[in-house]
Symmetry: C2
């Protein structure tokens, strides 16, 4: 193992090890078809990073279709299996907010997953991709009347109602259209889960949902049940993101099933479904050890079975909404290195700044959530030692960082390609044109072929909205 | 003054007062033509918020042309006046990264300001708007060869070189083109300024610039001076953003002029210019008391005159790069209110969540920088008391907050218009399509007329990049 030296050690995060081999690809960080060819060039889906860059330019999001679909199918099958003996199976809704394009929606449809959407823009992509309307859910704390109308007209399978006010809005639009709206109620269960910990007595200082503790959830149930235009499909909760700790789901499921049971007692209505939300974690760095779909499904099945047994109720059909844990690991961003620069830090440490041809416009997560990422040299293998590096973008902002800390080969230089894994979720979907930079395209690769899912913006696209 | 009650007081930020009148418009937060008409409706540029919403839809950025141009001209004149007796005047470069469109560039050209850009996309807008090429600067830690070539071909007035590597790149492209490239050198002076404080001994852990303390800046000077393809116009520093404390500029100017003097001594070259960067603060809330252009120019003239006198050198031509303090206060975002929701917090406090039809896609600054904003009811005046409110967007993310804390009228409800001031800088320029939301347009208003600067995206625009 290359020793980074005392000065550098002082600024290396505790989870980051100086690698024995800078060309190593940690399996948990890379999509399943990623490797290096005989020359050491990074490959994915049977194509080399160099070929992809030559064909599609940089920066570009490279989505490993086999990996994405395998993860989606693994969720579908794990939940079907785990819940097969308990109830009428379990549905997996892919959370399109993490990344969606018509081509992705087509995979979701072909592979038999449901789709979770947050806007008319998202469900439009789902419908374009051929997802069955009744397999699409619509979320949102402030859906417009237009979105609700379009959702009902398209026959979406569930509108997840988020507030008391929205009950009346959905009912009035359903009445206008002469339809019965299938709704779920988003319940704030007082559990807040993030990463490795959770709070079971979290107060409810957030914009989403109907408070269980405050009685709004029960009130909402009574109102929905009283509306002939509304069909209450079930209760819904979502407790956080990037969760590695299933204990939080145990508490939320218990509370949600308690209300589910209460609805049965008070209104004589046996709700057919329950949704436990998403938020399952993925690995951005060697620090993260996410659970797999089978483990998640198995644990949730145990939890739900035990709670239903203890409350003496039948197990409703369960659904979940994974997004990041399907799309995130499937994709890396391929950048070209521009300038590099070493800076001297306090205490004698040095940090290398490696600038790439994108930045916070294609990955705001590092700055927005103080997120960690990893990176590797993609255009070649290197025999140089690893040096502590920070991968930064080309924006005029000092916070424009893509990867805060990584050991990159000391000889990485202008013209090299760099790959940052785990960028499939919340990167392209949150991309901007900051500094008038065109947004990168998203290219899927499989079996030696690449296909554009979202094309790269051109300078002309940037001017399309400018009124001149 | 309406009393918010003990529970609420506990969660109100120290700078936020419950207003005596919820309809009050604090002058430091609003552009100069903003007021309320006889019915209490917010007006700007002779148009009511209701008219603007009816014509252009919501959300929309409303830019007060008179305000923007008055601020730009105030900077131009204040710097010309303050430096008139010291040197050949002073140039003001409007920092286009804060917000730029062809229409804005046209004002910059007509009003005799220079333009600071960070990419070919930005300088393209400047050239389209008629800004003289030699009045445009190009910044960036990782300019592409294509950008440098285009900048030299267009005849831009200064390329601000950011690294040792870039010196050779610019020189080689200038040689290819047979031109002499006018360059400045961005120097990291070891001063870090933010808001109300600064660090004069900051280490240099950032991607930008050539370190003064580490000797890179001197080395860069020697290399540039040795290149016949490069003409060294001067030294440049930029020390932070949202700065209210001129003391930081005193330290940075002293250090930069020290190097400027050193260049004269060592190379016999009297550099004609010096650039002190931007970062002048603006008011987002009642907490901020920014300095005006005259005060900033006066203080900088004093500082530069004193330093040059003490070093016994002539005063070079000074330039500065204000962006936020020109564009920021000129603009408010006009939203329509959707759902509202009260949540009970620990200790008996309550917070109202007011959801609007935009959010983190049109203003990422609240989440990204933990920034504070203000808001007022725009479609009418209200006689209701103010209640502590949080203005949130419609995105599927709990961090989707626009205004963390504001007292809004208790009767604000669905269908009302809400205006958030100070959104002219780094909001539209960093906007995304998160959750497949179309980005709002930017409309300038003046003398009772509105004009689209950047048109609103349509659902069709959202599909333009989707490969189907």
């Amino acid at each position: 193992m290359h020793s980074p030296g005392a000065g550098v050690t002082a600024i290396v995060p505790s989870w980051l090890q100086a690698p024995a081999d800078v060309n190593e690809l940690l399996p948990q960080l890379w999509s399943r078809t990623v490797g290096r060819d005989a020359d050491g060039v990074l490959t994915v889906g049977g194509l080399s990073a160099a070929e992809i860059a030559a064909t599609h330019g940089t920066p570009v999001f490279v989505l490993d279709e086999e990996d994405f679909r395998a993860r989606a199918v693994a969720y579908r099958d794990a939940f079907a299996d785990a819940f097969a003996d308990l109830c009428d199976g379990a549905d997996v809704y892919y959370a399109g907010k993490s990344f969606l394009a018509t081509g992705v929606a087509r995979w979701i449809a072909e592979d038999g997953l449901h789709l979770d959407t947050c806007s008319s823009g998202e469900f439009t992509l789902g419908l374009r991709g051929g997802v069955r309307p009744d397999w699409i859910a619509l979320h949102g704390n402030n859906k417009s009347r237009g979105e609700i109308r379009a959702a009902l007209q398209a026959g979406l399978g569930r509108i997840v109602v988020d507030s008391l006010e929205e009950i009346e809005v959905v009912a009035s639009i359903a009445r206008e259209l002469g339809v019965v709206a299938p709704v779920m109620l988003r319940v704030t269960v007082g559990v807040e889960a993030h990463t490795h910990s959770y709070i079971a007595t979290a107060h409810e200082d957030q914009k989403f949902g109907l408070s269980l503790a405050g009685g709004q959830a029960e009130l909402a149930v009574a109102r929905v049940v009283g509306h002939p235009e509304l069909q209450l499909r079930g209760l819904h909760s979502h407790i956080g993101s990037q969760i590695f700790d299933m204990g939080a789901f145990e508490v939320s499921a218990r509370r949600l099933l308690g209300l589910h049971h209460g609805v049965q007692r008070e209104h004589g209505v046996e709700l057919p479904e329950i949704d436990l939300g998403g938020g399952f974690g993925m690995a951005y760095t060697s620090e993260h050890q996410p659970l797999g779909p089978a483990e998640i499904a198995g644990r949730l099945a145990e939890i739900v079975a035990r709670e239903c047994l203890s409350q003496g109720i039948a197990v409703p059909k369960v659904s979940v909404e994974p997004g990041r844990s399907i799309s995130g690991p499937s994709t890396f961003t391929l950048y070209e290195v521009g300038t590099t620069k070493d800076v001297a830090l306090d205490g004698g440490a040095r940090r290398r700044y490696v600038s790439v041809d994108g930045g916070m416009s294609d990955n705001i997560r590092t700055a927005l959530y103080d997120a960690d990422y990893s990176a590797t040299l993609a255009s070649r293998a290197s025999t140089a030692p690893g040096v502590l590096s920070r991968v930064v973008g080309k924006h005029c902002e000092s916070g424009d960082v893509v990867v805060k800390d990584e050991f990159l080969p000391a000889d990485a230089a202008a013209g090299d390609l760099l790959a940052v894994p785990g960028t499939g979720a919340y990167c392209r979907s949150m991309a901007s044109n900051y500094n008038q930079l065109p947004r990168p395209g998203v290219v899927s690769v499989r079996d030696g072929a690449s296909r554009v899912l979202v094309r790269r913006e051109t300078p002309e696209d940037l001017l399309a909205l400018d009124a001149g």
